[in-house]
């Protein structure tokens, strides 16, 4: 977009075609907006997965009479199901991130790559927090 706008920031000559400049800028802005919207949509889906993980209770404990083997069996099945949910959410987050990266940041220079890694680290911290919240909520559910 910078490249397209730069043309208009220089002195225009009578031979310059202002219409072409405006059309190019509009096209470029539209393209940028589409990329931003796509990024925001993916980011919102990622945050949604984080929220889903943080409220996941990993066991199914009710206030009722249990036989120990039956109790263990129910909890093991529930844990396996929730592990599947964790894996599914992670794969979704992973594919959204790589899609964002490929579409928007991959071909940029070192400063952008550094910033992207910082973003990854922030997401790492947020995911760690979500998993902790899930475990904590599960333990408090005992």
């Amino acid at each position: 977009m910078d490249k397209d706008i730069r043309v208009g920031l220089q002195k225009l000559q009578w031979v310059n075609n202002a219409d072409t400049f405006v059309h190019q800028c509009r096209g470029s802005c539209r393209d940028t907006l589409r990329k931003i919207k796509s990024f925001q949509e993916h980011d919102s889906q990622i945050r949604h997965e984080y929220d889903k993980l943080s409220i996941t209770i990993l066991t199914q404990i009710k206030k009722q009479m249990y036989k120990l083997p039956e109790f263990n069996d129910i909890q093991n099945k529930e844990l396996e199901a929730k592990k599947g949910l964790f894996k599914g959410s992670f794969e979704k987050i992973r594919s959204l991130l790589i899609e964002n990266y490929k579409q928007l940041f991959m071909d940029h220079g070192a400063p952008v790559q550094r910033e992207w890694i910082n973003t990854m680290r922030d997401l790492d911290k947020a995911l760690e927090k979500s998993l902790k919240l899930s475990v904590k909520a599960t333990l408090l559910d005992f």
């Binding site: 109790f71 992670f90 992973r94 071909d107 790492d124 904590k136």
Partner: protein, 142 residues
């Protein structure tokens, strides 16, 4: 909170009726401890995002390099997918053909260098397991 049974043996020959814990205390404690361990362990199915992202990104970059090398061998550098052409332009400009293999590798590595992984970046499971909050709740349940 789960409830487990305590049974009394109706023994007319004995004034002190025998109380049977079902399951017994040791077994119940053992199984609960195992369940607590399994709850925290469930987070181990989620790997760190940054690590997975680095691997995914490397796979894409390796794929691009393979495509460039194959197209160069067959003399079809002009007919590569657009994404690869953009990357090539960013990395080598118009000098690809004039560069030695070493210069090509150096230009590629310069473009795609990432900051090193932090030594403190353990998997989520390790962080959740060693979290003080989680330890406290587990001790309380035990």
């Amino acid at each position: 909170m789960p409830i487990f049974t305590v049974e009394t043996v109706l023994d007319t020959s004995n004034e002190e009726w025998k109380v049977c814990h079902n399951p017994n205390h040791a077994q119940l404690k053992n199984d609960i401890e195992r369940l607590l361990h399994d709850i925290v362990k469930a987070t181990s199915v989620v790997p760190r995002i940054e690590g997975v992202f680095r691997k995914d990104r490397q796979k894409i970059l390796d794929d691009f390099r393979t495509q460039i090398a194959e197209n160069e061998r067959s003399g079809n550098l002009g007919s590569m997918p657009q994404a690869v052409t953009i990357i090539m332009q960013k990395v080598y400009g118009n000098n690809y053909a004039n560069m030695t293999k070493e210069e090509q590798t150096a230009a590629w590595e310069k473009q795609f260098a990432l900051p090193a992984t932090k030594s403190s970046d353990h998997e989520y499971y390790d962080k959740v397991r060693s979290s003080k909050d989680i330890e406290q709740i587990k001790d309380h349940i035990k």
